[in-house]
C-alpha cells in the first residue's frame, strides 16, 4: 500500500507537469494579448506592460520561470486585475464555489442514490417509470434552464427562496438544485442499472435465505455491490462541482471561482488561467486517487499493487 502511494504520487506529479506544459503552450498559441482588448495603446505602454509581466522574454524562458514559480506555489500576479495575486483570487473565490459544491454533492448522493434504489426495487412499476422520466429530463435539460425556471417559479412567483447570492444556506438551495439536477439524474440511472443486475444475483438469494430483513439485504448486500459505477463517476464530479460552474454562478450572482476559468481565457490573463487550471488539475488528481483507494475498500477483489 505504501509503495503504491509513492508510485501513485510520482505519477500524479508527472500528470500535472504534462497538464501545465500543454496548457502553457496552448494558451500562448491563442492569438491576442492581455493588452489587446484595450483601446489602441501607445507602443511605449505596451512595451512597459510586456516588460512588467515578462512577456518580452522568449517563450522558453517564460516557461521555465513559470515552472520554477509553480514549484514555489506562486502563480504570479493577475495581468488583468491590477496586480492582484492569483493565489488571492483562488483563496477568496474558491470557498464560495466549494460551499455550493459541497451542498450540491450532498444533494446528488442523498437524492440520486435513493432514487436509483427505488427505481431498481420497483422495476417497471410506476415509481420506476416516474423516476426515470425525471432522470431523463435531468440529463437532457441544461442547467441554465433549470436555474432560470427555479428562479422564476420558486423564487419570484412562490417567494420560497432568495433568487440570487449565497449568503445563507437558503440562498444556496436554488443554485444547488440547478447544479445537481444532471448529476442526480445520472447517479440515479447508474444505481438503477447496476442494482437491477445485482438484485438478480444468487448471493442476494443467499442473503434472503439467511433470514436477513429486506432492508439489510438491500443496503448491506445489494447496494455495496452496485455502488461501484457511482464511485467512479464521483471523482471527477466532485472536482468539477467544487471548483465551480461558470454558468450557474453567473446566473445566481455567486462570486465563485467558476467564472475565472472562462474570463481569464478570453482576457488572455495567462497567470490566472495557469493558476486556476493547476488548482483544478490537482483537485482532479486527488479525487481520482481517492476513488482508487475507495475501490479497494468496496471491492476486496481489487488490490493496489506496486
Amino acid at each position: 500500500m505504501f509503495g503504491y502511494m509513492i508510485k501513485r504520487f510520482a505519477y500524479s506529479i508527472f500528470t500535472l507537469f504534462v497538464i501545465i506544459t500543454i496548457t502553457f503552450f496552448l494558451m500562448h498559441a491563442i492569438p491576442g494579448n492581455v493588452y489587446n482588448s484595450e483601446k489602441n495603446l501607445p507602443p511605449a505602454i505596451v512595451e512597459n506592460i510586456r516588460a512588467k509581466y515578462g512577456l518580452d522574454k522568449p517563450l522558453s524562458e517564460q516557461y521555465f520561470t513559470m515552472l520554477k514559480n509553480t514549484l514555489k506555489l506562486d502563480f504570479g500576479i493577475s495581468m488583468k486585475n491590477r496586480g492582484r495575486p492569483v493565489n488571492d483570487i483562488i483563496t477568496e473565490h474558491f470557498p464560495h464555489s466549494a460551499r455550493l459544491g459541497i451542498f450540491s454533492i450532498t444533494l446528488c448522493l442523498f437524492i440520486g442514490i435513493p432514487l436509483g434504489i427505488l427505481s431498481a426495487l420497483k422495476k417497471d412499476k410506476w415509481q420506476d417509470r416516474l423516476a426515470m422520466i425525471i432522470a431523463t429530463l435531468g440529463v437532457s435539460v441544461p442547467g441554465f434552464v433549470v436555474a432560470v425556471l427555479t428562479q422564476y417559479l420558486l423564487g419570484v412567483k412562490l417567494k420560497w427562496f432568495p433568487v440570487i447570492g449565497d449568503k445563507t444556506i437558503y440562498h444556496l438551495i436554488l443554485p444547488a438544485i440547478a447544479l445537481s439536477f444532471l448529476p442526480i439524474s445520472f447517479i440515479a440511472r447508474l444505481v438503477r442499472s447496476s442494482m437491477v443486475e445485482v438484485l438478480e444475483q444468487d448471493y442476494i438469494r443467499t442473503a434472503r435465505a439467511k433470514g436477513l430483513s429486506e432492508r439489510v439485504v438491500i443496503y448491506k448486500h445489494a447496494l455495496k455491490n452496485s455502488i461501484m459505477p457511482v464511485v467512479t463517476y464521483l471523482g471527477p464530479l466532485i472536482a468539477g462541482v467544487l471548483t465551480g460552474s461558470f454558468v450557474i454562478e453567473s446566473i445566481f450572482n455567486i462570486p465563485g471561482l467558476g467564472r475565472y476559468f472562462v474570463t481569464s481565457i478570453s482576457n488572455r490573463d495567462y497567470t490566472v488561467t495557469m493558476g486556476v487550471t493547476i488548482f483544478y488539475a490537482v483537485f482532479l488528481v486527488l479525487m481520482n486517487f481517492a476513488v482508487d483507494v475507495l475501490y479497494t475498500v468496496l471491492d476486496p477483489r481489487i488490490k493496489l499493487k506496486n
Binding site: 444468487d202 448471493y203 443467499t206 442473503a207 439467511k210 455495496k224 471491492d299 476486496p300 477483489r301
Partner: protein, 325 residues
Amino acid sequence: MSSKHINILEVKNLTKYFSVNKGLFSNQNSVVKAVDDVSFSIAKGETLGLVGESGCGKTTAGRTVLRLHEPTKGQIIFDGTDITKVRMKPYRKKMQMIFQDPYASLNPRMTVGDIIGEPMDIHKLAKGKERKDRIYHLLELVGLNKEHANRYPHEFSGGQRQRVGIARALAVQPEFIVCDEPISALDVSIQAQIVNMLEDLQNSLGLTYLFIAHDLSMVKHISNRVGVMYLGKLVELAKSDELYDKPAHPYTQALLSAIPIADPKASKEKKRIILEGDVPSPIDPPSGCRFRTRCPYATKICAEIEPEFKEISPSHMCACHLYNK
C-alpha cells in the same frame, strides 16, 4: 403413504406460476407453470431426491418450499406448522439451502468469516468469541481451516466455495436443508467429496435433505426416496431402490435407461429408450398427461384426462394411465 416417522416437511398441492410479459408493446401476460400441484412429504432424517430435466421446476420447487419464492397455491407444513403465510425469519433458522452455483451465491464483498457469521448475528445465536469459535468449528467441519475465515470468496476454488456455502447453511444449526444441485457446478473429482461430506454431516447432525439433482446415479446414492419431475409435475415417487429397479412411469424408464454403465458388455446389451421431440413449453403444457407428447405408450385417454398421482404399490406413487386398470 404409510410412514412410521414424523414428517418434518409436508408439501400439499404446491403450485408456483410466474407471469411473463410477452414483449415491449404487448400487455398480454402469460403464465409459466413452473411447479404445478406437487405434493410430497419428507420424514425426519431422510433424504428425498428430486430429479428431472433442466427446466422441469425442481429448483423452483426447492426454493418455494423455503418460501424464497412465494407459492401461488398450496400448503407447506414444517414440523406440524403451516408456514405458507407466516413470517419466515424464525424458520430460516431451521430450514436452510445449499445453492447450485458456488461462484455466484457468495457475496464477493464479504469475508468467508462474515458470510458464515452473519446468520448467527441475525438470529442472535452467538457473539464475540463464541461466534468466532463457531465459525472456526464450522470451517473445520466442512474440511476447511480457520485461516480461511479472513479470506474472500474469490480466493477459493469451486469445491472450497461450495464448502463455504455448506458451512454457511449449517451456521444456524438447521434441521432441514434443501440441496439445490450442490455438486453440478463442480469438477467430477470434487463431486464425490462433497456428497460424502453431506452424508457424514447428515449422520452426525441428524439433518434432513431435499436433494435436487439431475445426476441420477448420484441421487440414487444419497437418497432414501426419489421423486421424478416432468414439466412442473411430480410423475413418480418411490423408495430409491424400487424406483431404480422397477420404474413405473414411462418417463422414469427413459431417464434411467440413459444412465451410462461402466461395463461395456452390459452397456451394449442395454436398450436405451430415446425420447422423441423436445420438452413442451411450460407456458402452454399439453392437455391431460403432460408427458403424452413424448410418451411411447400414449393413448387417447392421455390427452383427455390428467392422470392422478396415486399409489400403485406400497409407497410407490405414480401418475400414469397405464396403471389405472
